[in-house]
């Protein structure tokens, strides 16, 4: 899709349907909240975003907060396009956040404002060292548990987005919400600050549990706000419009 004048450069996610929805991809340097309840495919989509980036020669960084990254890598969907040399060559890097906590002495359950700044600058300096153009934090909700108050969460996400954006990095923050939640984020703050929100959900239809994806908001581009059905396949994530016809209602 040709860029119109004044249109921002795009960071193609490589997920075909999603790039179409976003008219070419996520506007570069945006920080996107990818949110949904468990089992909706957030991690898989985020990984695909990084793998496609790495294939295109963009250094990509995955910061794993909840799961050990080695375990994550072992359980990765056998994507046809995923080549382990991307990891070996350092194009795609996995880092465990708990190790960063240990190194920075941030193992307490509650972080102060000063420690939040430290964490942001450590993440930014790592992204800078690695020349990361794409970054995923999975999940930001787990980090937020250490921040406790909405002021601190706000502060953390604002500063982090700013720092990553200054480095020319396009970021996805994975958020977890309870299945019955009406909010896009656990703490209600993340969603207000992010440049974009992509909502993933489970939907039951005729006895099938469908995964759905919806772009709620995306600064710097037009986008469809329709709900799409998402399929996780070895070819990657496939998005098809949710057909209204045939529903039970």
């Amino acid at each position: 899709m040709p860029l119109k004048p004044g249109d921002r450069e795009r960071c193609a996610t490589g997920v075909e349907g999603l790039d179409t929805i976003l008219y070419g991809g996520i506007p570069r340097t945006n920080t996107v909240l990818l949110t949904g309840s468990c089992g909706t495919g957030k991690t898989s989509l985020a990984l695909e975003f990084l793998i496609h980036g790495a294939i295109r020669g963009e250094n990509s960084l995955f910061i794993s907060v909840t799961e050990n990254s080695e375990k994550l890598l072992a359980n990765i969907i056998p994507y046809r396009f995923f080549d382990r040399t991307l990891v070996r060559s350092g194009r795609l890097v996995f880092v465990d956040m708990p190790i960063m906590y240990e190194r920075l002495g941030l193992t307490k359950p509650d972080l102060s404002m000063e420690e939040i700044d430290l964490l942001v600058s450590a993440l930014a300096s790592l992204a800078k060292e690695l020349g990361s153009k794409r970054l995923v934090i999975d999940s930001i909700t787990s980090v937020c548990y250490k921040l406790k108050t909405s002021e601190k969460i706000r502060d953390f996400i604002l500063k982090l987005s700013k720092a990553l954006s200054d480095l020319g990095c396009t970021s996805i923050l994975v958020g977890e919400v309870p299945a019955d939640s009406t909010s896009y984020s656990s703490f209600g703050v993340e969603e207000a600050i992010a440049d974009g929100i992509v909502l993933m959900a489970n939907m039951e239809r005729r006895g099938d549990l469908l995964r759905t994806l919806q772009v709620i908001k995306m600064r710097g581009t037009m986008h469809s706000r329709a709900k799409y059905v998402l399929d996780l396949t070895p070819m990657g994530v496939l998005l098809v419009p949710l057909l209204k016809g045939g529903s039970t209602q």
Binding site: V93, V95, R103, G105, T107, A122, S125, E129, L130
Partner: protein
């Protein structure tokens, strides 16, 4: 009555033969008063195997003093100070470096699981180590100040009660050193109350020199033994003079 030596023969005499087996001693004084030195002289005496817990000195410093005065060096030194350095202070230094300079990918890759900060409770460690000793033993804890600085008073008191009870039942002896007038008076009084024998090392400036005293503050059930004894520090150690 079963006595064992306090480490200074003339002081043993003054105490009517020494200290009772099963006693817990507290040696107090201001900085530079010689409490650590007294502790070493105590370690040099008796027939019991000696375990010397230190939180302030290096092993070689302890042994050097013992050798200099011709005292026994077959003592077991448990260096809490070094352990504290390795587990806590060295980590703090490392953390401050990472905080200052940021973390590189290689810092993250070099991390091994055993680097994870496991909170070690040195007070529990101390009590555990003492519980493992074969009685009768002779224990030196130099000094209580370390534990009082790092733990809640009540925790320290509880651990000291346990150690005292163990010392008593096993007819062993334990000596604690503590700075005087540094800790709040409530915990100091509680620790004094717990001790069977309290020795205070005191000095007084007379003209151009110090006059030194061994102040026997308390001997449990033998109040007649308390008193102020002028002391000399010479090549044999501390002695009443």
């Amino acid at each position: 009555m079963q006595f064992t030596s306090i480490g200074i023969p003339a002081l043993d005499e003054h105490l009517g033969g020494g200290i009772l087996k099963g006693s817990t001693l507290l040696v107090m004084g201001g900085p530079g008063s010689g409490t650590e030195f007294f502790a070493k002289q105590f370690a040099s005496a008796g027939t019991e195997p000696v375990t010397y817990f230190t939180s302030t000195e290096r092993d070689e410093d302890v042994l050097a003093v013992m050798r200099e005065y011709g005292w026994r060096t077959d003592i077991k030194i448990v260096n809490i100070g070094r352990k504290y350095y390795e587990k806590v202070l060295a980590r703090k230094l490392e953390v401050s470096r990472f905080r200052q300079e940021g973390i590189t990918l290689s810092d993250i890759r070099k991390f091994r699981d055993q680097d994870a900060a496991k909170e070690e409770n040195f007070l529990t460690f101390l009590a555990y180590e003492i519980s493992k000793l074969n009685p009768p033993f002779r224990v030196v804890i130099n000094s209580l100040d370390f534990y009082l600085e790092n733990y809640e008073s009540q925790e320290v008191l509880m651990a000291m009660r346990t150690i005292k009870a163990h010392t008593q039942h096993s007819e062993s002896v334990t000596l604690n050193t503590m700075l005087k007038g540094v800790h709040d008076s409530k915990i100091q009084s509680s620790l004094e109350d717990l001790a069977d024998v309290i020795i205070e090392l005191d000095r007084e400036k007379v003209g151009h020199e110090f006059k030194k005293y061994i102040v026997v503050q308390k001997v449990r059930n033998r109040p007649a033994m308390v008193g102020i004894i002028p002391a000399i520090y010479d090549r044999t150690g501390i002695k009443p003079g």
